[in-house]
């Protein structure tokens, strides 16, 4: 590594703080904390001065790729720019200084934030109830499927299968299995959308519902979704929509109007809160009328005397997170929502769609387009033409790093061979997209001109090509102290 670990920088006795002399009588730790909770030996934390610690982490952040540095076109992840005004609000002392066990009367502002976020999400999704407790998209999915489960339990429906299209995110089948259902796959048709024939055949009496991402992971809108909703509802099955791609729909279309029953929303994608290591995430779940009763407790309610946390709901699936989710993220999301307003939100999606289609138009002569349907906010091309000449998608992704771009999502969705899934987001200027397209074209030229160069990329990154097999099979992330070596 070009930068040592902070443990390697540690010098015994060095510190980055000074404390004043104690002006009260000293007490032993075990008088203050039960002895069984105390460490028997020191924690062996690194000892380092403030300036060195600062430089260490700044060097690491310089080596890292982040959206504040350059384009991050990671499809289905919506790595949009995170406005800094979000952070200003999130660090206001009224938000950072509160304790979750404070009386409700003293945290009215915080409760109002939660209430407002949930209300705006109801408006955006066209659904009737929202919980903002789930701490991630996957957590939202799990919560959503548990709500589906509760619905069928209460109605006495015997259901044990959930349908999932073959283009779905891998988290969908995981959530289904964890919630105790089994998965049946629905095949995509030649347009890259859900095959209605296959769906009809698989919609048997044991089906609890379907999970659909819309637009799907190819960036294509599932045009038959309303018909699918009707067919499901006829059998009292439910329509779950994975909201990972909601960035394409803000202010344009409300999923509730299509017959969606459950939808999770990734605030760290669509609503510009930090994403990918910068988290934590937040995955609120919105539901239709018939599921509102089952939402997790506590719920924030507005009363004549202000806001309160309502725990009394016998039909609720219960608590799914400590206290009330990742509150600091809700402050950031609310800032973003209110800065944009209704018109601004629509423009977010319009520009996201425009950017994706513009970039696709620049690339489709050079990279194969498997499904030639109109796309929304992201698209999938394939490097099959390049693969025939011996250059893999991985080589292309690694080569992009030398141009200062993050690579797109690769080898996903699985229904496209050698897939490159690209999502530029609305926050990129035309010049940035042009520059990215030029890089992709230059890489394509190298496939004929100098394929060896691509096979060994990247050259300009802090570390070169990593041994992914070794990292998967022999992962070792435990630090070994030099004094333990003897």
């Amino acid at each position: 590594m070009p930068e040592p670990l902070v443990f390697d920088l540690s010098k015994k006795g060095r510190k980055g703080y000074t404390l004043n002399d104690l002006d009260v009588p000293e007490k032993n730790l075990d008088e203050l904390i039960p002895s069984e909770l105390l460490r028997s030996e020191p924690a062996r934390l690194p000892e380092i001065g403030e300036s060195e610690a600062m430089r260490h982490f700044v060097r690491l952040s310089n080596m890292n790729h982040h959206v504040d540095k350059s384009l991050y076109p990671l499809g289905s992840c919506t790595m949009k720019y995170n406005p800094k005004v979000n952070e200003n609000n999130a660090v206001l002392p009224g938000f950072t200084g509160v304790h979750p066990k404070q009386p409700e009367t003293s945290v009215q502002g915080c409760l109002e934030v939660v209430y407002k976020v949930e209300n705006i999400l109801k408006e955006v999704t066209g659904l009737k109830g929202v919980t903002s407790q789930p701490a991630a998209g996957s957590h939202g999915e799990f919560t959503g499927i548990m709500l589906m489960r509760k619905y069928h339990e209460v109605k006495g429906n015997e259901r044990n299968v959930i349908l999932i299209p073959d283009s779905a995110h891998g988290t969908n089948p995981s959530s289904v299995i964890i919630a105790g259902y089994s998965v049946k796959e629905v095949k995509s048709n030649e347009k890259g959308t859900i095959g209605l024939e296959d769906f009809r055949a698989k919609l048997t009496d044991d089906v609890a519902g379907i999970m659909i991402t819309n637009p799907n992971t190819l960036g294509i809108f599932e045009c038959d979704i309303a018909q699918i909703a009707d067919m499901l509802h006829e059998k009292d099955a439910l329509l779950y929509m994975d909201g990972a791609n909601l960035n394409a729909l803000l202010g344009i279309l409300k999923p509730g109007d299509l017959g969606v029953d459950i939808l999770h929303i990734n605030l760290h994608k669509t609503f510009s809160t930090p994403h990918g290591g910068g988290g934590p995430g937040s995955g609120p779940v919105a539901v239709s009328e018939k599921l509102v009763d089952f939402l997790p407790v506590p719920a924030v309610r507005k009363t004549d005397h202000g806001y309160n946390l309502e725990y009394d709901n016998p039909n609720s699936i219960g608590k799914i997170h400590g206290f009330y989710g990742n509150f600091g993220i809700l402050v950031r999301a609310l800032t973003y929502m209110e800065m944009l307003g209704k018109r601004g939100m629509r423009r977010v999606s319009e520009n996201a769609i425009l950017n994706a289609n513009y970039l696709l138009s620049l690339l489709k002569d050079y990279y194969k387009l498997e499904y030639d349907s109109p796309v929304m906010h992201e698209f999938v091309v394939s490097s099959q033409w390049q693969k025939e000449k011996g250059i893999r998608t991985l080589d292309i992704a690694k080569s992009l790093l030398d141009f200062g771009f993050h690579a797109p999502t690769t080898y996903f969705p699985l229904i496209v061979k050698e897939a490159l899934m690209i999502e530029p987001t609305e926050t990129e200027a035309k010049e940035v997209l042009d520059c990215f397209a030029e890089a992709m074209k230059e890489i394509n030229e190298y496939v004929d001109k100098n394929p060896e160069k691509l096979k060994h990329a990247p050259y300009n990154t802090p570390v070169r090509r990593l041994d992914e097999v070794k990292a998967t099979k022999e992962l070792n992330v435990k630090y070994k102290f030099p004094e333990d070596e003897e």
């Binding site: 893999r392 991985l394 080898y411 699985l414 992914e468 097999v469 998967t472 099979k473």
Partner: protein, 127 residues
Amino acid sequence: MDYNIPDNLKYTREHEWVAVLEDNIISLGVTDYAQDQLEDIVYLDLPDAGLEISAGDAFGSVEAVKAVEDIYTPVSGEIVEINEALEDKPELCNQDPYGEGWLVKIKCSDMSEVDALLSAGEYKELI
């Protein structure tokens, strides 16, 4: 690209091969094409022997660096043996997909399901 597709095996649309070992016992693995597409295979999630399966079930998965794919059974019956060697050396699936890289042995309840699988010629057409 030329793939090794032995003539004496049967094949599935999910890029698996089936060999008839004796009477109603078959062995199953991934094809040369499948291992090439998946690239470095790092883990096999296989069930315990004794599991009853029906044709079309996904009963395990192949994890490669770039993707995880389900393993489907084209036949109904019982899994009688799994390839224990793959636990330490999953790369056998890449190195020797038709030999040491076999995945499971299945006792078939209906051998006509095996007869209905693709021939080497038909599988070559598919890829």
